[in-house]
Amino acid sequence: MGPPEPRQLFEEIYLAHYPAVSGYIARRTDSPDDTADVISETFTTAWRRLADIPSGEEAKLWLYGVARRILANHYRAESRRSALAVRLRADLTRWAHSVVERETDAAREAFARLSDDDRELLSLVGWEGLNTAEIAKVLGCSGGAARLRLHRARKRLAAELAAADLDLNRYGSRAVALAKESS
């Protein structure tokens, strides 16, 4: 059996990782148009750089990294609209209509007050379920640096929660300890 054809390989990667990658992007964009644009650019990048995508689960981390970079550029680019993904745009718009706006609570507000970097680190753990070694690959830093940055981000979140006068005991002793450590 020879090596896989590019189209076959891309389909395998796309179908395996689209749900996680589109979720990563949807959680970090404000509108269906933005979500569709960034998904489209991320996977177009994957197609162009197919040979560079690591195999297995590492492909997902590679795609997160690409999406992260595009998100950074995209927001600076304001409202670029891709000609691709017209149907996806319609699907996402219908989905956005169906999402009920959740009540903003103090934890959400505390989280929103953190820096972009802190939010990204904490989100990669809490939303994408990554460990520090995986985070290091997404961010392009060493495992040690990822661990340290994550620790600091957690401390700052704990401090924000404390400042919001939240009952930290609700969230456990670990949060209380971190809040004290950072104050």
């Binding site: 990563y24 992007i25 600076r76 680019a77 996806l88 959400r108 753990v125 392009g140 979140l157």
Partner: protein, 291 residues
């Protein structure tokens, strides 16, 4: 060990979206059909760079085009046209370990730029890219394998900037830079020339910026465009999953949700039979800094 704080963050995770919807399958095929199949062997240069740079993420040509808006920018501080030929296409000085480069002539033959840069020992090419108004002056520097050249810096023009991104007036390249780089510099397009770099026509610096057109009917938007010297080149429609296409015309009663310029004076509109949700319209309006 699961941190309690991580549970706090997990509890506020936004909805991850609908997953593999039909549009996602369409997109997969669109991407594969939009450009030739890539080679499956990484290039030697790319493999070497990956070893050196670890997980630094590369940006492909298509994203570069998209992002040409972003990382760097450039606006010639000097007039392009004039009765006297300019002495050199680029004006280059040296300061603080950098070559400080400004464009004297945005329409010079790229070979002239390259020759000047080569004389300094720099393997840097400049390419002029026809771009929509909000992107004119921006530049993007990449390696031959499409990775962003982060060593290059820009000099920004002081004061307010009416373009997407920033308004740099020059580029700084480290003296002794040994890499190979391609700099895409966005220029105005000629009449009838298609843009290779474009953004939404309501982005900063574009003709419809802060013009309230979203959810107006095609007929009304045609009038708004005409007041700005623009005509409609075609439409993209996204009415439903099985009814998506690029078409020459749509009913005048349809709603316009976005659009972009495809060449000077010509716009393509995204329109549908249903308007966009009001809260999305308001959010995007605010995001663009309109009031």
């Amino acid at each position: 060990m699961t941190h309690d704080l991580d549970r706090v963050v997990a509890a506020i995770a936004p909805d991850p979206g609908p997953g593999l919807v039909p549009g996602a399958h369409d997109l997969m095929r669109e991407i594969m059909d939009s450009s030739p199949a890539p080679a499956l062997q990484p290039t030697v240069e790319s493999a070497r760079r990956r070893r050196r740079m670890g997980w630094r993420i590369a940006v492909p040509a298509v994203a570069v085009l998209a992002a040409s808006v972003t990382v760097l920018g450039w606006t010639s501080a000097l007039p392009v046209f004039g009765p006297e030929p300019v002495a050199a296409a680029l004006e280059i000085t040296q300061k603080d370990g950098y070559y400080v480069i400004q464009v004297n002539d945005l329409r010079a033959d790229p070979a002239k730029y390259q020759a000047q840069l080569k004389a300094l020992g720099l393997d840097v090419s400049l390419r002029l890219v026809p771009a929509s108004p909000g992107l004119v002056g921006n530049l993007f520097a990449t390696t031959p394998t499409n990775e962003v050249v982060e060593e290059f810096k820009t000099i920004d023009r002081p004061g307010p900037c009416d373009k997407v991104g920033n308004c740099p007036i020059g580029l700084k390249i480290p003296v002794g830079y040994k890499g190979t780089a391609l700099v895409d510099l966005n220029r105005d397009a000629e009449q009838g020339e298609k843009y290779d770099a474009f953004t939404g026509f309501d982005a900063k610096g574009e003709p419809m910026h802060c013009v309230p057109y979203v959810n107006k009917k095609v007929g009304e938007v045609r009038t708004i465009l005409a007041e700005r010297g623009l005509s409609i080149e075609g439409f993209a429609t996204g009415k439903g999953p099985d009814d998506v296409k690029e078409v020459a015309t749509v009913p005048d009663s349809w709603y316009v949700t976005s659009g972009f310029l495809v060449m000077p004076g010509k716009a393509k509109l995204v329109a549908g039979s249903e308007p966009k949700a009001d809260h999305l319209v308001k959010m995007e309006w605010r995001k663009r800094g309109c009031s």
